[in-house]
């Protein structure tokens, strides 16, 4: 019985804090709606009639259906689906690769992969994820709100802020972070690449960059100099709406104050050209000499403690598998062999294959921990596709709307019900943490154990680990510990070594920072970052903008929920009971909307409803709507998923068009 979940005051990482979601863990664990037994559908799809079955019957049914679908329609007709990272996603990827099946996840093209891929191209590392708040004197918080969405980062930001570090927040929306900022750059949604290139222009033309670092460690600087000539602040102002004076001030602050750090997150991934955006932001850190220096952006130490990439079994994928992966031709950095992360299939292309049978039929989806009907853009298309499947399995904690249309539902273990070795840069770049199972709820099983059993019955157990502990032992190998020994320690850390590139170079083809990238030329893309208008915008699609005159920026989070989770926890829901669409007083007046009115927001894809929050914190040309709410409050009903970001295929969730009216 878990009686309390508190912060660990001995932790160097959390310093005893814990977020609202973590403090409500007990409510999740013992929630009356938890799935506790495997079930199979007994009525028609989505009718809500279920029959409890044994795990044995569940596995048998899954294996039989997957085998017969594979025999009839081919290997690629089965797609695996995962949700956001919860500690087992890499193992899920291994399962997919061992099984030889393509897989998708909302936490892929729509989150994480674009910004990681972009910075990996430039730096060969994910340093942009790891600002060093301990010594930073200037922080750019780029399109994120870490105290709300990333509390371990929020903790460091507020400590640096209290010390007097300058804080520059880039966000179309007046967030909690923006309310603490010394400089707030309120840009037009989706124009981040132009802003970054404009800041590069200022830093280069005013010679504020680190000449020694650029000479020794960067290739392609001359080409970059030529490229950023096009992005003088006055021109960037017309694109981004950020005054040229403010662009100059932010660039000068970031470059002149040393050391400076950049914190970026999800909005970079849901942008117009996500790869150019993340590349140009990484270049800001590079040419100012802020990589792997105290107070800059650090290169992870986790690689010294734990094998990060070689567990996913990418080497098992056949030539034929690569060639048939959905989205490969259009999005080489997502679904092609040139990808930095993955490879993963492209979600829109999968839905289309299910709906049309082209280029080949997809008839089954096997899904762990993903409420797909809420988390992907274009809810109607996703619903139509998943409803059309021959066979659909969902493993989750709760009977989500996605589980409701499945054939088999499996009860997964929450974090308190499973063990793990937590080694994630998003938690710490120099700590491995123990997650130890403390309680068993009914028949719930860890994702690892479900995947292992399924692999055994499908006949590829030899490619998985014989048990959870064997997998954890593997993860701990570089640290020299077994899981048994690790259980006694709870946490292992390793002191940070700065400027690692001086001894090992950057992990790019040239061994240096690649400002100019021939890998992109060979894929048929621009080797330098550039700005591209969002797929829908008043400038790019003026005809559409006549009908849908407002820019909608979505994907913003509220503090007490994580993605699609936790709205069923009463103590959390009480804090944020309703979805609020932020709309400026000027626009609200013009549309006859008062604070608290219910409004209908529409796009060419459909309509949804929200409560109007009339606020000065948003530009009159923009509305901001948080994502992942259920039913008619789901903003993904509006979002386009076809006109994706180039190279990596992310839906442009931060910058589409809509219209708003009061619900009479």
């Amino acid at each position: 019985m878990v009686v309390r979940v508190e912060g660990d005051t001995s932790s160097e990482v959390t310093q005893g804090t814990l977020c609202a979601k973590g403090l409500a863990s007990k409510e999740i664990l013992y929630h009356r709606e938890r799935l506790l037994h495997p079930m199979k559908r007994s009525g028609t799809r989505g009718e809500g009639k279920w029959q409890r079955i044994t795990w044995d019957e569940a596995f048998d049914t899954i294996v039989n259906h997957l085998r017969s679908i594979e025999e009839r329609y081919g290997s690629e007709s089965i797609v695996l689906a995962t949700g956001t990272n919860r500690g087992w996603v890499r193992y899920f990827t291994r399962f997919a690769n061992a099984y030889g099946k393509q897989w998708i996840g909302p936490g892929i093209a729509q989150c994480f992969y674009p910004r990681i891929s972009g910075q990996m191209l430039v730096l060969g590392t994910n340093a942009m994820e790891n600002p060093d708040y301990n010594a930073t004197r200037c922080m750019i918080i780029w399109g994120c709100n870490p105290t709300t969405t990333w509390p371990v980062k929020g903790l460091g930001i507020m400590e640096a802020w209290c010390r007097g570090a300058q804080m520059i927040v880039i966000d179309p929306f007046f967030s909690e972070a923006a309310s603490k900022a010394h400089l707030w750059l309120q840009l037009r949604p989706g124009t981040d690449a132009a802003l970054a290139l404009g800041m590069l222009h200022v830093i280069i033309t005013e010679r504020l960059y680190d000449e020694t670092f650029v000479d020794n460690w960067c290739i392609g600087f001359d080409e970059l100099v030529k490229r950023v000539e096009e992005y003088q602040p006055e021109r960037v102002e017309t694109i981004t709406w950020v005054p040229a004076s403010l662009i100059r001030e932010a660039a000068r602050l970031y470059a002149a104050i040393k050391p400076s750090s950049i914190t970026q997150c999800l909005s970079i991934d849901q942008n117009a050209d996500t790869i150019s955006t993340s590349r140009s932001i990484a270049m800001l850190a590079a040419i100012t000499g802020n990589i792997d220096v105290p107070g800059g952006n650090l290169i992870t130490m986790l690689t010294e403690m734990s094998p990060v990439s070689d567990e996913t079994g990418r080497q098992w994928l056949s030539r034929e598998h690569h060639e048939k992966r959905l989205g490969r031709a259009q999005y080489p950095l997502l679904a092609g062999e040139a990808c930095v992360m993955g490879p993963s299939a492209h979600n829109f292309t999968v839905w289309r294959a299910i709906l049309t049978g082209r280029p080949y039929p997809v008839r089954a989806v096997y899904c762990h921990g993903s409420n797909m009907l809420r988390t992907y853009a274009n809810t109607k298309m996703v619903t139509d596709a998943l409803t059309k499947l021959d066979f659909f399995v969902v493993a989750d904690l709760f009977p989500t709307e996605t589980a409701a249309i499945a054939d088999i539902v499996l009860p997964a273990a929450s974090w308190m019900e499973r063990s793990a070795v937590t080694r994630n840069e998003q938690t710490s770049i120099s700590h491995l943490h123990l997650q130890q199972k403390v309680v068993q709820r009914e028949e719930c099983r860890s994702d690892l154990s479900i995947l292992n059993e399924l692999a055994r019955r499908l006949g590829f157990a030899d490619r998985m680990f014989p048990g959870e502990e064997a997998y954890f032992d593997f993860l701990l190998q570089p640290s020299g510990l077994t899981f048994e020994e690790f259980k006694r320690l709870g946490v292992v850390s390793c002191p940070h070594v700065f400027r690692k590139y001086e001894s090992e170079g950057f992990h790019t083809p040239s061994g240096k920072v690649q400002l100019y990238d021939e890998r992109l030329t060979s894929l048929g893309y621009d080797p330098l970052p550039s700005y591209q208008e969002p797929s829908e915008s008043p400038i790019h699609t003026p005809e559409l903008a006549k009908e849908y005159p407002l820019i909608i920026t979505t994907g913003g989070r509220v503090p007490v929920f994580r993605h699609a989770e936790l709205r069923n926890i009463p103590v959390l829901r009480e804090i944020v009971p309703e979805l609020e669409a932020s709309i400026s007083p000027k626009t609200a007046r013009a549309l006859g909307i008062n604070n608290g009115d219910t409004v209908i927001v529409e796009s060419p894809r459909g309509g949804m409803e929200a409560k109007a929050r009339v606020t000065e914190g948003i530009d009159p040309r923009v509305i901001q709507v948080p994502s992942h709410w259920p039913g008619i409050n789901n903003v993904n009903l509006l979002m386009d998923n076809e006109k994706c970001a180039p190279m990596i295929g992310g839906a442009q969730l931060r910058c589409q068009l809509c219209r708003v009216k009061k619900r009479e």
């Binding site: 403090l23 105290t147 509390p151 209290c162 909690e176 309310s179 503090p559």
Partner: protein, 180 residues
């Protein structure tokens, strides 16, 4: 009196709501109790000297010097103890709720599950065991601090915005500006 007081640095509050959830767990305030002893209020964005401001204010019982709620209680269940904490004797409380209406800060709650009144007691049980109040421990922004009078003076330079009972509201941004 307790040796320490609660310092709330308004500029450090980031509205993460960890204090609210920490409080609920610590005092077993399930949703059904309808008791939200600690609550973060938002002052919505508004222009101040050409600057957009948005502020967050954690509120809870301030342990008044002369608690008005005690005057409202017909059975004398509320008293200010020697440690400064305004305490409710649950054995005596009849749950009449006069104090709930009488408190000018809205800091008292009728516990729907237990039938008695409850409110913030600065986690007196934790404090006696040498642990910080739950809201203070979990505060991400460093807005909530449990400090001695000496520490309070060092942090606020003796110029807090407001003191009510054992709670001091301060603004560090204002202080930084003052320091230049």
């Amino acid at each position: 009196m307790l040796q320490k007081v609660l310092l709330i640095d308004l500029d450090n509050c980031v509205r993460c709501y960890a204090c609210e959830l920490a409080c609920r767990q610590e005092h077993d305030l399930t949703y059904e109790t309808k008791s939200r002893w600690c609550k973060v209020m938002t002052i919505e964005p508004r222009w101040v000297n050409q600057e957009l401001h948005m502020d967050f204010v954690p509120v809870m019982c301030v342990q008044c010097d002369d608690p008005i709620c005690a005057y409202f209680c017909p059975v004398n269940a509320i008293s200010k103890g020697e440690d400064g904490i305004v305490a409710i004797d649950e054995e005596v409380c009849t749950g009449c709720r006069l104090c709930v209406h009488g408190c000018p800060y809205g800091a008292l709650f009728f516990n729907e599950m237990r039938g008695v009144i409850g409110k913030c007691d600065l986690c007196i049980n934790r404090v006696h065991s040498g642990i910080e109040p739950a809201c203070v421990q979990h505060c991400i922004g460093g807005a909530l601090q449990f400090v001695s009078h000496e520490e309070l003076n060092n942090i606020t330079l003796g110029e807090h915005i407001l003191r009510m009972g054992m709670v001091y509201y301060a603004s560090s941004k204002w202080k930084l500006r003052k320091l230049g």
